[in-house]
Symmetry: C3
Subunit: 159 residues, 3 copies
């Protein structure tokens, strides 16, 4: 393998205003607790037997494989949301599926959509779902806002 396969994962989310869309995204990452790492975006599987852990501080500047949804907006008053869902299979030797979704709308709507997306993906794989986790965040834009929801993959529980 080119890269090690992750063994642990956790879910985070955050929202922020910022000077520019990228600054708002940066602020959302900081609120989510992953603002001082190098996210490497990937699509979107939980390896078999990968363990859910509570969010942990990651080494600053480390490269972190992450599945995430993010949206920015510069329309004052607009409500934006991001969500991720993780569908875990009944069979422990099967992988789980991550889905990401961002859009205008409330946290509740966007989270419901992403959960349906994950259920649909497991149906397509003909895998029964043991557990469906999700996290979502919404933000009402003042000037320039961003939301982010992420599944962070990692290979150890630090400490």
């Amino acid at each position: 393998m080119i890269f090690k396969t992750p063994t642990h994962y956790f879910l985070v989310s955050g929202a922020s205003e910022g000077l520019t869309p990228l600054n708002a995204f940066d602020g959302a990452l900081l609120r989510a607790g992953i603002g001082d790492t190098n996210l490497v975006k990937m699509s979107s599987i939980v390896p078999p037997r990968c363990q859910l852990i509570s969010p942990v501080p990651l080494p600053p500047g480390s490269l972190v494989p992450t599945a995430y949804a993010s949206i920015t907006s510069d329309i004052p008053g607009e409500l934006i949301s991001s969500a991720v869902a993780v569908a875990l299979p009944r069979e422990p030797h099967h992988p789980g599926l991550i889905m990401e979704y961002s859009a205008r709308g409330s946290k509740a709507e966007i989270e419901e959509t992403v959960r349906q997306m994950a259920m649909e993906g497991m149906k397509l794989r003909q895998r029964e779902i043991k557990e469906l986790k999700s996290i979502a965040v919404e933000h009402k834009v003042q000037k320039v806002g961003a939301t982010l929801a992420a599944v962070v993959l990692w290979d150890a529980v630090p400490g």
Copy 2:
């Protein structure tokens, strides 16, 4: 080096309908045989002496460096296509070049375009082409459709 350099590669493609654009993309990945891995998108070189192999099953949830083209559409009746081309140099110590292209249009058109793009990139590098491989797929959208063509890099022939 931060990452290992790949030693093998293969070409795949797929198309699918889905509940949402991301579900359609997920379905296209499954059809292509890489739906249970974590694609890490990269731009777009075949390392020197990297060997073409037939598509192989990859470990579920593994992180896989991949150059790919993908497109989604929700316009019923629209024809969408994705293609990738790999131009290999005459000199074996030189790297090869990957190009990706997706658009509305037929498989034949999109594949022809991506092949021209790869030839152009080798011309810019003043490298003679020994071989030009490509793969393409087209899909007529019913409700929400996606196409995907990919060059998957790997570092071993499993098994």
Copy 3:
């Protein structure tokens, strides 16, 4: 850790015309000296004590974690620019921050914006800036043009 943490970095930029937007981007990468590598895009931190070096040739086909800004345009006469800024903290055990920005406009404008973005991001982290580096490039489009500015992370000084 899934990936090694980079220990060195360098800044590059380039611009080019091309047959297609992707060919123009490829040309810009070649001008920047990183056209024969596999860029893995990441967001956007300089690890603590990571050392700035002069651009070095990277092994062809190697996977290279890179933070970059890029833009393409097919509007003849349009002026496009890309810039990256690196803000380094006074405290050496803190990470630095990379910001990327591309837009229509002159190199001077875009570089000024990206520097402000990096300062803003450090202010949000309440970290004093020891040094602020940036690089930018502009290009007047003839038919299809691209600009690119990048911070390349690496783990050794080759040679």
